[in-house]
Symmetry: C2
Subunit: 232 residues, 2 copies
Amino acid sequence: MLVWERPEPPDRAAPAPLSRDAIVRAAIRLADADGLDAVSLRKVAGALDVGPMRLYGYIDTKEELLDLMVDAVYAGIRPAGDGWREVLRSHAETVRRAVHRHEWLADLLGGRPQLGPNTLASGNAVLAGLAGIDLDTVVPAVAAVNAYVVGAVRREIGERRAERASGMDKRQWQAAYGPYLERAFAAGRFPAVESMVRDGPHLDAGETFRAGLEFLLDGIAVRLSGGGSTPR
Amino acid sequence: MLVWERPEPPDRAAPAPLSRDAIVRAAIRLADADGLDAVSLRKVAGALDVGPMRLYGYIDTKEELLDLMVDAVYAGIRPAGDGWREVLRSHAETVRRAVHRHEWLADLLGGRPQLGPNTLASGNAVLAGLAGIDLDTVVPAVAAVNAYVVGAVRREIGERRAERASGMDKRQWQAAYGPYLERAFAAGRFPAVESMVRDGPHLDAGETFRAGLEFLLDGIAVRLSGGGSTPR
DNA sequence: TATGTCTCGATACAGTGTATCGCGACAGCC
DNA sequence: GGCTGTCGCGATACACTGTATCGAGACATA
């Protein structure tokens, strides 16, 4: 094509000013709106009016971006309250609330060790709130609470998504899986599950989360008060 | 109609005989060898000497294949032992062992509700082992143990991968993250974390898992023996 | 034998993460 | 003020993903 008819290059928008922070915020916006799958380097870059390759000046890898997203959320995760029990409980509840605001967190938590500054600060605050207690108890206790929270929110979000996928409503979810379960039960192969579904309590997600958390805290309390070893 | 009850297509004197089972086994082999990312429909089909589109006769979606993989593993997950405590403990340990054999399970567990026949049978066995106990306690207790296990194995596998990624050795992992943590500590911003790392116990993954599990079981024991409500 | 049904899989599409590298813009120097 | 060296941007490319489409061929039935 000859110069004469070749269009001039578009007025090069002054390269949009960029920062790791802006990138992470854009990625979080995308993930909040459409889930983690919607976070592609191309889309993040597009949201910032920037070429995809530009991002590689700020991060080496998509995984690093995900790590930064997690750490950004941890900026708002701090335990509150007095006493070991309240510290651990509020920590757990705060993480859960964060997951409610950012469902994609459920996909990332526990997936790889998080050592970002905000995550470290959050962990530091929890440990500081437990100062004075024997480290031999604190370390496994904190690990256990974290493990529980990760697993619990994962299941909670997983179920929520399954419900949403089958039509937005718990009634409709039951309509989708109910008949399947009915047929599975009809064969009589899962009587214990069947009686649980029929006669068991129907706790909502929050009640289930808190009930499990209290079990765990009660168990930690046993160790703290008993001071002895765990009974077999 | 869900995968589990949808009948397989009839045996067809096809170029390569195929079955849902063969597909799932091939997928599991790939995932065991090279991780979940190595499970692509093309690679699975390739391992079976078959075109990729052939698989869609047996599954509707890749997610269904992942569900089938999880359910296949649950075929070997059954609790053993007598008494609620031993049932829950052995269930947890068995799941953990399965995750050790199939690390990709850690990426899938809790991600979506599992209602396959083997998973239902496993859950049924656990509930049957808890027969006689008040369902108001059993339901949250089982949920809590499952949540804990999911979170715990996720972290365990996540850490194991991070170590492996940085050179195969725990020493080398500490060499990779150690200096970073040293620098972070040097600023004095995470004193509680620092003292934990320096003075805290260094439990291995198995000890940590069991310690947290015993906390949880102790907490459930409190409810079972006390019979009363949880103290605030 | 003709017809209808069904399955296979080649091809295609839109998307992914990221390596490569030429071009253009800027900074510093003569 | 003009030249040159450096550097970062981002177009292009690559290998790969999950899956929709659809023509071709095989089988069962009429």
